[in-house]
């Protein structure tokens, strides 16, 4: 099934107060951020999307795919599911080596050229990690950042999922700037739960949450877009210092 859009219809927040935006539409190609304080219900909102909520979750929200309720196949067979969800906590538990796992997954997804798809996936993941992962190693031996990087790479390349939900990748120990840049090359719906201004401002729009409910949807305007450029510079500077610290070098003042 080709995904054209996802619609979320308002439900209720933690005290039963309604979402203040009746209807939110994600169109193919959109990058969306979900922002709000800790505990405000951001993860819960993407959970609703991942579950294709039909007034049957505590939030009573409803999610439609291309104007219709999601077909049962989406939930029953994970390889039919167009949504890939990379959670805050997902870890690999598999005892298989990385390459064997990826080959098996690519085979399940009926990808034509398995070995090149697997290679591409590992290359993608390695662009996001500090130290490249060893494909001969067991999945459980991967570090937290390598795990997250591989999950993203698998969702994008092997599963080729049209909708990708990412919960706080800035805390995942991966290069999020690189991730953002790589991901934007793909025509998909990306939903980022984030506390990161750079990710939030490079999205098409952001959903603001409070106390379990959506309070508004904000589209970046000209002033924000200008500020976003400044934020990028500050952020790159921070990344530069981080790189120095990480690689055991001394920090120098000249650059500021």
């Amino acid at each position: 099934m080709q995904i054209k859009e996802i619609k979320i219809f308002a439900g209720v927040g933690k005290n039963g107060q309604p979402d203040l935006v009746d209807e939110i539409t994600f169109t193919m190609g959109d990058v969306i951020s979900i922002v709000g304080p800790t505990g405000s219900g951001k993860t819960t909102l993407i959970d609703d999307i991942a579950l294709f909520a039909d007034c049957n979750t505590p939030t009573r929200r409803r999610v439609l795919i291309n104007e219709a309720p999601a077909p049962e196949d989406f939930m029953n067979d994970p390889s039919q599911n167009p949504v890939a969800f990379i959670t805050q906590h997902t870890n690999f538990l598999s005892d298989l080596p990385v390459n064997e796992f990826l080959e098996t997954h690519a085979d399940i997804r009926k990808r034509p050229d398995i070995s090149s798809v697997v290679r591409e996936t590992i290359e993608f993941a390695n662009q996001l990690t500090g130290e490249p992962l060893n494909a001969e190693n067991g999945m459980t031996e991967l570090s937290g950042g390598q795990t997250r990087a591989l999950l993203i790479a698998d969702a994008v390349i092997i599963s080729n999922s049209p909708v990708i939900l990412l919960d706080e990748i800035e805390n995942a120990g991966i290069n999020r700037t690189k991730a953002l840049e790589l991901l934007k090359k793909y025509e998909k719906i990306f939903v980022f739960v984030t506390h990161d201004p750079r990710i939030a401002l490079s999205s098409d729009f952001r959903i603001v949450m409070e106390n379990g409910a959506v309070t508004k949807v904000l589209y970046p305007h000209d002033e924000e877009l200008a500020v976003a450029e400044e934020i990028k510079k500050i952020d790159d500077l921070m990344l530069h210092f981080r790189r120095l610290i990480r690689s055991g070098e001394r920090v120098t003042g000249g650059i500021i």
Binding site: P78, I86, F92, L93
Partner: protein, 233 residues
Amino acid sequence: MKVIICAGPPTTGKTTVLRQVTRRLIEAEFRPAYLKIDVLYAIEDQMFQKEFNIPSKKVYSGELCPDHCNVMVLRDAVEWAQKTSADFLLVETAGLCLRCSPYIEGGLGIVVLEATSGMNLPVKIGPMLTLADIAVVTKIDLISQAEREVFRSRIMKASAGIPICETNALCGIGIDALVKKIHASPDIGDSLVLRGNPPVGTCTVCVGKKEIGWQQHFGVVRPLENDIFYRGE
């Protein structure tokens, strides 16, 4: 009455799954009864009694292999459940013996596997999986979608065509597919027959003879280098 037999390795979520099922059966105004067969210790019967106020019972298999025990007690259990005017008998077995399977003809056999158990589990557990009518995969909340898919294909490989219900049994997500299957299962007839062949038993061991070496045993025995044969009358 329908008889639902639920097997699976220890702590895979059998009880959690059956609680979700029970809740839904009661909501639909059915009257389930619950039987737990375990080796040495179980409290599930009290849980079901307390949480749902339904007829509940447990049997300790003790020295017997729990699946053998199941064969011995199930007819009595069906009568017991019928007396309580139950319309579903839910049986949770201990599922320790990987050569036996507890399922019966004319009843629904459910195997519960946990998604976190390692990719080789499906090929390790033999008839417990291959003779089941449906495989329930629990704890999908703990693993990635990619791993779910691979685990699923491993199950398919071990038991082609078996329906699979993936669930986060803690909150009951995905459990409706199982409940549908339970409703669609047939009512139990008069004859109760074990599904598939029980393994050829080293029965003198089962009954407690501890001496090592086939020379010490009767019934179906096997030496190291030869195939099994029958020794005795």
